[in-house]
Amino acid sequence: MVASSAGRFSEAGLAQLTEIVSHYPDAGGAILPALWLAQREYGGWLPAEAVAEVAARLGRPASEVQGVASFYTMYNMQQRGRHHIEVCTCLTCGCLGAYEVIDRLEQLLGIHLGQTTPDGEFSLTEAECLNYCEAATVVQVGERYFGGVNAGNVADLIDRLRGSDDCTPVSLSNAIVEAIVPGRAGATHG
């Protein structure tokens, strides 16, 4: 099932892929999780080789896998900043200060929406409803959510992110922690 053509998947990634494929009645079903894996294995985005590798391993046409990958917004078809900051501007957040947060972020980072800082640290985009509306304004960075973000405290968030050496910051300034959705802080991943 998981064809052993040349590629950049690590041993662990391949083992995981084999496991995932076993959940589906045919390998094609595993395209989405395989693309997630590939995005991790290829450093946060999906270059053409990553798409080709997924296609080859799952025995699907590369055009199809590319069509799938480009359909979903969470697959990055181009490299972006280490921290991908997505600000929800949908109905509730949009009415509760999301645009001020964006204005502030643009100032702080010196970039516009849709851009990446020259040092490759941050990308900034708008997001559709992140479905954390009770904590508006909500910002997603990689796999993490931050609630209660406003133009006043967003600088703290940036400071913490800038200092952290991976994309999943472990602790945040008190100002932010207190603003985070109750029950969210300190939860572990994995």
Binding site: A48, A52, P61, Q66, G67, S70, F71
Partner: protein, 712 residues
């Protein structure tokens, strides 16, 4: 036979009985009611269809209430007729105010982002979008926002250009590559209003069948690089023809203007190509017959040629042929029509008493063909192209089928797609990584050069192991030996399919061309016998009229092609006519061909261009391409099909049969042929294989040859 239930439906008040599940758009069409559409295509899957929403109709179904009363319940939303399956009692309205309004709405949506560059669009004049706009379009646009912009004329391949601004996202092209050709090279990228078609990583759209997408695109989004900006459809005349680029004999249309074929489109023939073409034919045929053409006879004058009248040319040829008498020889090429071949035979046999007619088949010896005929019957393609669809399994032997016989391949794939047939292949290791058949084959077995017989033996052994109940002679059992285990299970998987009962085989032309053909044929014979499939071993040929040449006694004549060339060199063939063939460039050993022809006492060449062979001739006679004359070809299945003249011949060019007729006249043996029909009538009377070729059938699916031994 047909167990589909009929149901009663009413469309626009017309009561109809239609097969249950038939799409309403089809039922309506049969009742003479046209429902507009873009994305619908009867040969493409429904799963990614029903997307354009142009075919919306109103629909109601009978519903039995709690009181047992049956009332008509109208569906609250309009339904797409292209995907709506007919059901008992269904009532459909296609022209109500609501449906017309719905269509107008859809059309407006399709046009808001469309560039409306019809004046410079190749599709203009034959564009479904343009046509529907005539009926449902508004006079003025309500859209004042910026339109979607993309770079114009993005080249997808050497043949196809894409204009994304014109695309209406109907998914016909993507479905074609996924459903029909199977290479799945086109797919949608992105989503929403950004949805666009593309190939993976913008690589070339290298499908062997890419041209079909141009034809089925309902707008001018996919156009031909060759045809682009060449013509407007209303300036073109069109003629029914047959493709000459391989032996499938696809039904095509030649669109032409001023004596040039500007494009080739498919023509519906359910028995052969359905409606598809391959790129070799679609783009190759116009090239093959265009360019610098011969327009008048040429006579050698030292190192050069001199244009002469037909009178002079034919006088010279007649004299040389007459002098050579029964030692004269004729070598015919694969694009000659049945009528040409028959007339040449009449000239050489009847006029000169020579049986020295020759024809080069793609590498197989005539002995191999005879042995094969002995084993599997005289008809080399007993199953036929459409027949493959019904075969439970088809084993492809020694061929990258999609390359060798594109349309046969499409049938095989279609049958597999609808779950009717399993595909198997035993192919040379030299074939590309994954053949087109290999992409869906239940098993692919590879063999090294010269290893076909051994691969077949192993398959037999695996089959005997898979089905011990098979009866086989001691001799066969001993030959087959035991099954090998170290091929990754390929032979076993194949045997499991073969053990299910009789199926069909398709044997590539080159498979039996090697020095090991005897062993390979014998092994094939055993496998066919073991699977009960001896009556459905199909041996492919490659030339457009190979089967016609065979039936008309050109194959394996007195000398054979090699003997003919040798005879020309030694002088034992004092006069040689090469008709529509270019051995200097086409045969495997050009140097020896050149050496032979250099010493030929007299060489006459008839062809449409001044080929390398023609340059060596004493007399060159201009003949007609398929577009400039009428006639018939016999395809790989033995199907005789008619092609028609599209435009006048170049200069004084003449079809080969007419050249032969005029020579016969000079020899004092005038014929009574005034047109191709007279020749065909004679063939019917005198050539047993053509005994049942009726004129009526020619214009439909074609008429089949009768499998008989060729009588000289």
């Amino acid at each position: 036979m047909n167990d589909t239930k009929l149901v009663n439906v009413t469309i626009n008040g017309v009561a109809l009985q239609v097969p249950k599940g038939e799409r309403i758009i089809e039922s309506a069409r049969r009742a003479g009611i046209d429902i507009p559409y873009f994305c619908y295509h009867p040969r493409l899957s429904m799963e990614n269809g029903a997307n354009c929403r142009m075919c919306l109709v109103e629909m109601a179904m009978p519903r039995t209430g709690p009181d047992g009363m049956v009332t008509l319940a109208k569906h609250p939303k309009p339904q797409t007729a292209c995907s709506l399956p007919a059901d008992e009692g269904m009532v459909v309205e296609t022209e109500t105010e609501a449906t017309v309004k719905a269509r107008k709405g859809v059309l407006e949506f399709l046009l808001i982002n469309h560039p409306l560059d019809c004046p410079v669009c190749d599709r203009g004049g034959e564009c479904p979008l343009q046509n529907n706009t005539l009926h449902y379009g508004a006079g003025a646009s309500r859209y004042i926002e910026a339109k979607r912009r993309y770079p114009k004329a993005y080249p997808l391949s050497e043949h196809v250009v894409l204009d994304r601004e014109r695309c209406i996202q109907c998914a016909r092209c993507t479905r074609f590559t996924q459903d029909i050709s199977g290479d799945a090279q086109l797919d949608f990228l992105k989503r929403g209003a950004d949805t666009q078609i593309g190939t993976f990583n913008a690589e070339a759209f290298s499908s062997l069948f890419s041209g079909n997408t141009i034809e089925i695109c309902p707008v001018g989004a996919l156009t031909s690089r060759h045809y682009r900006f060449q013509a407007r459809p209303w300036d073109l005349a069109t003629q029914k023809s047959i493709c000459t680029e391989c032996s499938n004999g696809c039904s095509i249309k030649l669109d032409h203007r001023d004596g040039q074929v500007l494009r080739v489109n498919g023509r519906v023939n359910e028995a052969v190509n359905e409606e598809w073409t391959c790129d070799r034919g679609k783009f190759g045929l116009p090239v093959a017959i265009s360019g610098e053409r011969l327009t008048a006879p040429l006579l050698r004058d030292g190192d050069r040629f001199r244009e002469v009248s037909w009178d002079v040319a034919l006088g010279t040829v007649a004299e040389k042929l007459q002098r050579a008498g029964k030692q004269a020889a004729v070598l015919a090429g694969s694009k000659l029509a049945n009528e040409d071949l028959y007339a040449l035979q009449a000239l050489f046999r009847g006029g000169l008493g020579s049986t020295r007619s020759g024809y080069r088949l793609g590498g197989q010896s005539s002995e191999a063909r005879d042995v094969a005929a002995g084993l599997f019957g005289l008809n080399p393609m007993p199953t036929g192209i459409a027949g493959l669809e019904a075969s439970p399994w088809t084993l492809v032997v020694g061929s990258d089928l999609a390359v060798e016989q594109p349309i046969v391949f499409l049938r095989l794939r279609k049958s597999w797609r609808f779950g009717k047939s399993k595909a198997l292949e035993i192919i040379p290791a030299s074939a590309p990584g994954k053949t087109h058949v290999g992409a869906f084959a239940a098993s692919s077995v590879r063999y090294a050069e010269g290893g076909l017989a051994e691969a077949l033996r192993r398959t037999c052994a695996a089959l005997l192991a898979a089905n011990p109940g098979l009866t086989a002679s001691q001799e066969v059992l001993a030959w087959a030996g035991s099954a090998v285990q170290n091929d990754g299970g390929a032979a076993r998987r194949m045997a499991e399919v073969l053990a299910t009962g009789p199926g069909a085989m398709v044997v590539g032309e080159r498979a039996l061309a090697g020095p090991d053909w005897r062993e390979a044929l014998a092994a094939l014979g055993h496998l066919a016998a073991l699977t009960g499939s001896s009556g459905s071993v199909n041996r492919l040929v490659s030339g457009c009229n190979d089967r016609g040449a065979d039936a008309l006694g050109f194959v394996g004549g007195e000398l054979g092609v090699a003997g003919m060339l040798a005879g020309a060199a030694s002088g034992s063939v004092p006069a040689l006519w090469i008709a529509g063939a270019d051995p200097v460039t086409q045969y495997h050993d050009p140097q020896s061909v050149i050496a032979s022809l250099e010493r030929a006492p007299f060489l006459v060449v008839s062809d449409i261009k001044l080929t390398a062979t023609a340059r060596m001739a004493d007399v060159v006679l201009p003949s007609c391409s398929v577009a400039e004359r009428d006639g018939t070809f016999t395809n790989v299945e033995g199907r005789v099909q008619r092609f028609r003249q599209a435009f006048e011949p170049r200069g004084s060019a003449s079809p080969d049969w007419l050249i032969a007729a005029r020579l016969l006249q000079r020899l004092g043996k005038p014929s009574v042929w005034f047109g191709w029909q007279d020749l065909l009538a004679e063939m019917r009377a005198h050539v047993p294989a053509f005994g049942e070729v009726g004129f009526d059938a020619l214009d439909k699916d074609g008429a089949m040859l009768v499998a008989t031994q060729v009588v000289d």
